[in-house]
Symmetry: C2
Subunit: 289 residues, 2 copies
């Protein structure tokens, strides 16, 4: 066994990525569609993974630690850093563990993450983002995270991606929103409209614009994306002090968020989310033994 | 033929209501599920309606005048009163016509209504609401209408009911939102949260509250309804000067909106929307002959 080597599994609802980590570097990796909802026998899966990637200690993160996963790993309350997560690994056996998620409660309002914490804390630990920063992880459920001293201090989840999916797949706007989203004038016009933070009215405006011929309907999907992302960004800008948003995403989605952030007068930097995950999980791997 | 008698049909997407109006009063009425999407032969339907209700002139309103209806009646641009609508009836034949909808354009933003205009203008014509007022017609697509001099001056449509339906039927919150909505503490807490106008984050909060045990999940549907209605009301209160909102709705939905309006520091009056429709269509009936 290579010194310090282990297998990391980013095990989400619908996808899974396995890494063999050796001396802090990715020696092998593979992605498949065997998310937790597609798996029944987690122990059996692990036998198969070890057969393919090496008979090594395993550290898992993501929905595998939720009620729909293998075993539920209780949330660690924010503020939370890598050391807090490492101290609260859920042990399956002496060489197999799950990283817990993070919760944040402010009076009657609460928030949770599970899986994102490794990327977010890894971005700081790996020097990809400052220890005092606003980090953003866009997606179905977009995370906005205030880092303080390199720890997750507080965060807000916005279901931007899910809302876009809902209006695109169901309801009165669906027929208008089938085109691909592009970063251009329609997206930016949507982001400005979204900054009014009047989503239910702005969404109906997409229907009205079609009936009245106010916008090329081919642009409706980009406008709608700008609208929903723009409303999310504007709410965060209104509630938080930050100059730069560090965005953990692929270039396409990251580019859309960066444009909406800049339309709201802040700057944006796109961070390599894959490198951030590796930086985070490698540090957590030290807690395995 | 009774002097001034005619048949009025409020013909929407999924429902239809027929009235025989005699001397400004409803002599007979009947509601069924034969909305425009369920009807192919509109002329044949009218023969059947006249056979049942009397061989009288017919005035129709609603989606029957849209692209998915019998014939498309072009929108009348706001500001628009009953006389403007009456002057622009779409004539099918010398004793059969459709009331046009109303459009409003402000720069690149536009809005439309079709069917609601009869109720809204009827409310003022029938003395149920003042000639200078904010009228609200909640529903799938909630209309907020500024009346000036008894005419529709400008208006905003918010897809509040549709958004609630989307999150209730699809996506991550659906399983939590099956209970009936009630006007109580959870609704009012939702309305206050909605006033923050941060819908995508507040909606995710419903999920987090369940995972963290912050709210009795039996209250989630009422909270979500309060959230979405509260965000709509707060956006309108921020954009418009008005003391009282005149709400055209049944007591249940009207009561929810009234509570949200009052939570935002304005007063609310519920108007009998059925009486408002009759007042409006009766006045428009004078333009038939």
């Amino acid at each position: 066994m290579t010194s310090g080597a282990f297998l990391a599994i980013d095990w989400g609802t619908t996808n899974r990525r396995v890494y063999r980590i050796e001396e802090g570097m990715v020696a092998a990796t593979e992605r498949d569609a065997l998310g937790v909802t597609a798996v029944g026998d987690f122990a059996g899966e692990l036998v198969a993974i070890r057969a393919r990637f090496g008979d090594l200690p395993v550290l898992m993160a993501g929905m595998v630690g939720s009620t729909i996963g293998w075993r539920e790993a209780a949330y660690v309350a924010a503020p939370a850093g890598l050391d807090d997560l490492g101290d609260h690994l859920l042990r399956i056996d002496e060489r197999t563990a799950i990283v817990p998620g993070v919760s944040f409660v402010d009076g009657r309002r609460g928030d949770v993450m599970r899986g994102e914490e490794v990327q977010l804390l890894g971005a700081v630990a790996g020097g990809l983002a400052p220890a005092e920063a606003m980090l953003v992880q866009p997606g179905t459920h977009c995370k906005w995270v205030e880092m303080t001293g390199g720890r997750i201090a507080r965060f807000t989840t916005a279901m931007t991606g899910e809302l876009f999916g809902l209006v695109r797949s169901h309801g009165i706007l669906a027929a208008q929103l089938s085109a691909d989203v592009a970063l251009g004038d329609a997206f930016l016009e949507g982001a400005r409209e979204g900054a009014r933070r009047d989503l239910t009215a702005s969404l109906f405006g997409i229907r009205a614009a079609k009936l009245l011929g106010l916008r090329d309907d081919a642009d409706a999907a980009s406008f709608a994306s700008g609208l929903i992302i723009g409303a999310d960004v504007a709410a965060r800008v209104a509630a938080h002090e930050f100059d730069t948003a560090y965005i953990l995403a692929d270039p396409m989605l990251g580019g859309l968020y960066a444009a909406a952030v800049e339309a709201n007068g802040r700057t944006a930097t796109i961070v390599d989310s894959h490198a951030a995950f590796v930086a985070g999980i490698t540090r957590l791997g030290a807690f395995l033994s």
